[in-house]
């Protein structure tokens, strides 16, 4: 194996290890909770958002947290629900930043799944 390739390999593995360490430290969970709380506060739930609803959103954010795009994936809600979930994300823009910048993710998968 060539040296450059080995270095490349090592870097990839180190990145992965760093990711795992980050996950272990709780920073990612904290970031996730922060995002969930922000979006929940901004989700004005319409009456048609009943139990059994499940709507998946693919969200891209800029490094500062600005929401760049929202794509609605699988969603069994009506138009009112679709508007409300995408607006919840836009209203949350800019999204909060993680305590450790390495926990930042450009892409988010957000699943709206009301408990009751």
């Amino acid at each position: 194996m060539k040296a450059a390739q080995q270095a490349e390999l090592r870097r990839a593995l180190e990145d992965e290890e760093a990711g795992e360490a980050l996950a272990r430290s709780g920073v990612v969970d904290e970031y996730r909770t922060l995002l969930i709380q922000t979006i929940e506060r901004n989700w004005k739930r319409p009456p048609s958002a009943r139990a059994g609803l499940e709507c998946t959103l693919y969200v891209t954010q800029a490094p500062g947290g600005a929401v760049l795009g929202v794509k609605i994936g699988d969603c069994n809600g009506d138009d009112a629900v679709r508007d409300s979930v995408s607006n919840a994300v836009y209203r949350s823009s800019p999204l909060p930043a993680p305590r450790d910048a390495r926990a930042f993710e450009r892409r988010l998968v957000i699943v709206f799944k009301p408990a009751e």
């Binding site: 390739q5 996730r32 979930v85």
Partner: protein
């Protein structure tokens, strides 16, 4: 060893070059699977949704037919929306191409309604557009033709369409409310049976008397009202057609004739009569005048309300010592079944349009309040927090109820959403207002 942990075993045997390529690829894949943070949202808030309704083009602002003001008033009344104040509107677009979404985003408005009124040969054309401010998407647009007199009705219709698009529930703004207004002090009182638009506009007198008028009930087609009047010094039940004013006395038996309730097909009235000395429930066939007895109990049985299928009747009875809600077969000859057990007083049941719950008056911690009783789970959920709330009546979409309450010594009207999270007092005219009843939806919308 790192290799083996990071990669599936067969790959280890690959040529070095390919191996390196695979590792990088795996890294990329790992990053992409990994670099999507998954969030599960299980809760939301039930705040009113901000919406901007811009004054329509081609109209003077602030007149009685101000279309945007009527729409905003309706949305506000529903409790689910919070229209922006007019003075906070940053721009006055009346057509889609004039809208700058950034302006409205800054105001934290989720939705925007614009439109214009233009004269045409057959009257006035009202065109509106509804936008999602966050995405810039146009959600709804429509052109309705009307006349100057029909502008308010058209505005209510637009509010219905917007409400339905944004909540998934049909609007109930193109409806009316009947209620009883009482002026003056005894013995010189004046009773009036009134009908007004659901937003309180344009009240008109259906009938009036110096003797009590009570218990108005809409026919299922919304064309007639049944009510009790003491105008001949004793109680009698009348049915009056609103369009013509024609009325008919349908029950004037000796003793009390009270609490008329229309069957779902509009052919019969359930009512309470005291012909045997105490109040029992009967069904009166309006065409044949035939009377079927539903209950014969020494207690007071009153305030009937039909089930959706017309097969049974809900009512109030004090046969257990205090008022509770029961159900009995509408065909007669069957024992009544008790439904409510939760509080020491439950009365005046009114069925929700979906037939799944009853609104009623309950005695909750020493106060009379409106509650909803789930017919399936048998749970009682108190909706209001007044001291003397009474006479609940569902809007035809089931999303909101109107009821009577007290403001000081005066009776007034209030609304509460069916989930109880939004309550609103309606500013009332002078005098006492009581027994509000929400009309069915107009025929075009059923």
């Amino acid at each position: 060893m790192r290799f083996q942990r990071a990669l599936p075993r067969p790959v280890v045997t690959c040529p070095a070059r390919l191996l390196a390529w695979l590792v990088v690829l795996a890294g990329t894949l790992a990053t992409s699977a990994h670099a999507q943070l998954r969030l599960d949202i299980t809760q939301g808030v039930r705040d009113a949704v901000p919406i901007a309704v811009v004054p329509f083009g081609g109209q003077a602002e602030g007149g009685p037919n101000d279309v945007a003001a009527v729409i905003a008033g309706d949305l506000q009344l529903s409790g689910r929306f919070k229209p922006l104040e007019r003075r906070d509107l940053v721009a006055r677009p009346t057509r889609g191409e004039q809208v700058r979404f950034e302006d409205w985003r800054l105001l934290k408005s989720d939705f925007l309604v614009i439109g214009h009124v233009t004269p045409e040969a057959s009257g006035l054309a009202v065109e509106f557009e509804l936008f999602n401010v966050q995405t810039g998407q146009r959600l709804l647009t429509k052109r309705l033709v009307t006349s100057e007199r029909g502008l308010r009705a058209t505005a209510h219709r637009i509010a219905d369409l917007i409400f339905e698009r944004l909540t998934g529930i049909p609007g109930a703004f193109s409806t009316r409310i009947a209620y009883v207004a009482v002026d003056g002090r005894p013995p010189k009182q004046r009773y009036r049976l009134m009908v007004a638009d659901a937003d309180g506009y344009g009240p008109r007198i259906v009938t009036e008397s110096s003797e009590p008028i009570m218990s108005p009930a809409w026919s299922p087609d919304g064309q007639s009202l049944a009510y009790v009047s003491f105008e001949s010094k004793a109680s009698a039940i009348y049915v009056q057609r609103l369009a013509t004013g024609d009325r008919r006395r349908v029950s004037a038996r000796s003793g009390i004739n009270g609490a008329p309730a229309w069957s779902p097909d509009g052919r019969k009235l359930a009512l309470t009569l005291s012909r045997d000395g105490n109040l029992d429930l009967y069904v009166l066939d309006l065409a044949t005048q035939g009377l079927t007895r539903l209950t014969s109990d020494s207690a007071i049985d009153t305030e009937p309300e039909w089930s959706r299928d017309g097969a049974s009747v809900y009512f109030t009875s004090d046969r257990a010592g205090n008022a509770q809600v029961y159900r009995v077969s509408a065909g007669g000859g069957q024992e009544a079944q008790r439904l409510t057990f939760t509080n020491g007083y439950n009365a005046r049941p009114r069925l929700s349009p979906d037939g799944e719950s009853l609104a009623l008056v309950t005695l909750d911690r020493g106060a009379f309040r409106i509650a909803s009783y789930d017919l399936k789970t048998r749970n009682l959920h108190v909706l209001t927090d007044g001291r003397q709330d009474e006479a609940p009546s569902f809007a035809p979409n089931g999303a909101i109820l109107i009821y009577a309450t007290r403001a000081g010594a005066k009776g007034t009207l209030a609304m509460v959403s069916a989930d109880g999270r939004f309550q609103q007092r309606l500013s009332s005219e002078t005098g006492d207002v009581r027994e509000p009843v929400w009309s069915p939806s107009p025929p075009a919308q059923r």
